[in-house]
Each structure stands twice: as structure tokens, then as C-alpha cells.
Symmetry: C2
Subunit: 193 residues, 2 copies
Amino acid sequence: MTTRSTREDIVRAADDLFYRQGYEHTSFADIAEAVGISRGNFYYHFRTKDEILDAVIEARLAERRLLMERWEIEGKDPQDRIRSFIFILIANCDKIMRYGCPIGTLSGELAKLNHSSQGEANRLFTLFRTWLARQFALLGREADADALAMHLLARSQGVATLANAFRDEAFVRAEVQAMVDWLTAQAPETAPS
Amino acid sequence: MTTRSTREDIVRAADDLFYRQGYEHTSFADIAEAVGISRGNFYYHFRTKDEILDAVIEARLAERRLLMERWEIEGKDPQDRIRSFIFILIANCDKIMRYGCPIGTLSGELAKLNHSSQGEANRLFTLFRTWLARQFALLGREADADALAMHLLARSQGVATLANAFRDEAFVRAEVQAMVDWLTAQAPETAPS
């Protein structure tokens, strides 16, 4: 049990450090120090930073899946659920203003490193894309559900990038409102519940 | 003269490497190798990577200022000029799909490194923001010119991030068309020429 928990502690610390200071900039030593374990204990769990990266991506996927399940349960209709996605920008605004979006910045960093795990990291985008597309289909927009999902993902990513650059919460709130208005306009008729 | 040109070669090579593989991942040795000069010659021009970074940002600012001057000359009205901005996504599509937007990714990387030059790098965003806001004001939208500029910058950044993740040119083209349509809707009356 102790072994299992140490592994989880490593993944959690690495997830946080990759987000706050970047994958490339984070060393084994940084992660070991954050967890408070010896190098030996560390290597028992992970041999390479790539192995940790893959575990971090899996952990992020699992966490986001839970988030979406909650949105599905709590949202009374597809529009309500899509709004939950849009509101991530408000809920995580402080972190986004400091470090950007965890998914967008990791994908971008891995692209520049020409890292073989970029495809893995993009599964996070695909998870949101697929979920959003399903909600738009339920909203009666089967024909362009994927395009609407990509459009909303892009707007959300762009707001995160500029929030990180200008650290302007009023801008984030105005753009979130604009996305909600856009969403409302996508379903002029009453949405199916 | 030779000295001046070597300095420019270094800045150009660093600009390219920072864009393609990231600032953190690029070493003095990488840049020296790309330029084909000795370490000694290199240090004569730049002592630290931070000094090179600041020179790269200045070079990017100068280049973008020239670009905007050309848009001002070639664009027959503000709408036409703003369209030139939107079409960067098409003109640089291949590079954006591989490495993202040079401005957004540098700003994001420096934020994570908590690098003192992030403010400098954001001058690139501010340059576009100010220029776009001026065009929207000329379009008769003085009251919300800055908000419109930020909205368009954000959309453009978001498209760049997802283009980099999914490498889907059709998505980029569809979003560019959507931005052009949005722009047209911002000036229902004939724009002042």
C-alpha cells in the first residue's frame, strides 16, 4: 500500500510541476524533492521522465473524465453541461492567469520538443472535443457537432493564452460571457432535456 | 560590418531555434552551431541567453512593425487591414501546425519559467492589440475597440493552439472564415475608407 501511494505522490507532484514550470524545466531532483523521497526510491517507481509524463497524462485523463461525469450528472441539459466546460475558465482563473491552460501548454511544449508523447497529451484535447461534440449533437446539431466543439475549444484556449499574458480577469469574464451568448445562439429552439 | 552581421546571424538563428524547439531547450551550443561560429566569437556578442532573448524579442517587434506598416499601405480600409491579420493563420499555417504561434508559445513558456522577460515578450501581443484596436476604432467602434482587438487576438491564438495539436488545415480554414464573417458583422454600415 505504501508503494502504491508513493507512486501516486510522485505523479501528483510531477503533474503540478510540469504545469507550473514546464516539462522540460522539471528535473527528477525537483520531483523527488517535492515528494520528499530519495533518488533510489524514485527510480524504483520511474526510470525516465518520459515514464512519468505518460503517468501524468493518464492521471489527467482520469481526472477530466470524472469532471465530465459530474457535469453529465449535474447538468440538466446539454447547454447546461457545455456551460460547465466554459466556466472552467472562471473556476481556474487564478491558475490560468499564472500558468496558462494545463492541456494547451503541455501539448504546445511537447510539439516543440518533438516529443513522442505529444499524441498522448493530445488525448486530453480529444477527450474534451469528443465530449463537447456529443453535447452539441444532443443539442440538435448532429451535422456540425465536431466543428462546434473545435470552435469552442479554440476560443477557450485563446482566452487562456491571453489571460496568461495579460493577467486580466475582467477580460476572461467578458469572453466567458461572449461564449455563453454564442452557445445560447446555437440552439434557438428550446434544447431537448 | 562583419561584426554587425554576425550579431544579426546569431539573433536570426536564435529566433528560429526558440520558435522551433523552445527557449529553455535551446542551448548556446545549438545557436553557435546553427550560425557556424566559435564559442569565443559568440560570447563576444552575447554573454547570456537572456541577452539573446531580449535581442530576439526586439527583432520580432521590428519585423511585426514592418508587417503592419505593409498592411496599412496595402489595405484599402480598416476591415481589409484586419483581414490581413486574420490571414496570418493561413500564410503561416504549416509552421503553426508544427510549432504553434511564435508569440503565444514564447509568452506561455516564459510565464512557466517565471522569466523576467515575459513582460518584454508580451510587448509583441500588445503591438498587435494596439494596432487592431486602432483599426476597430477607425471602423467606427471606438467604444469597444480594445475588447474587439482582444477577442480577435484570443480567437487567433486558440486556432493556433489547436492547429498545433491536431495539424488540421481544414479546421484552420474554417475558423479563419468564421473570423472574417465575424469581422464583417462588426461593421454593418459601410466602413469609412
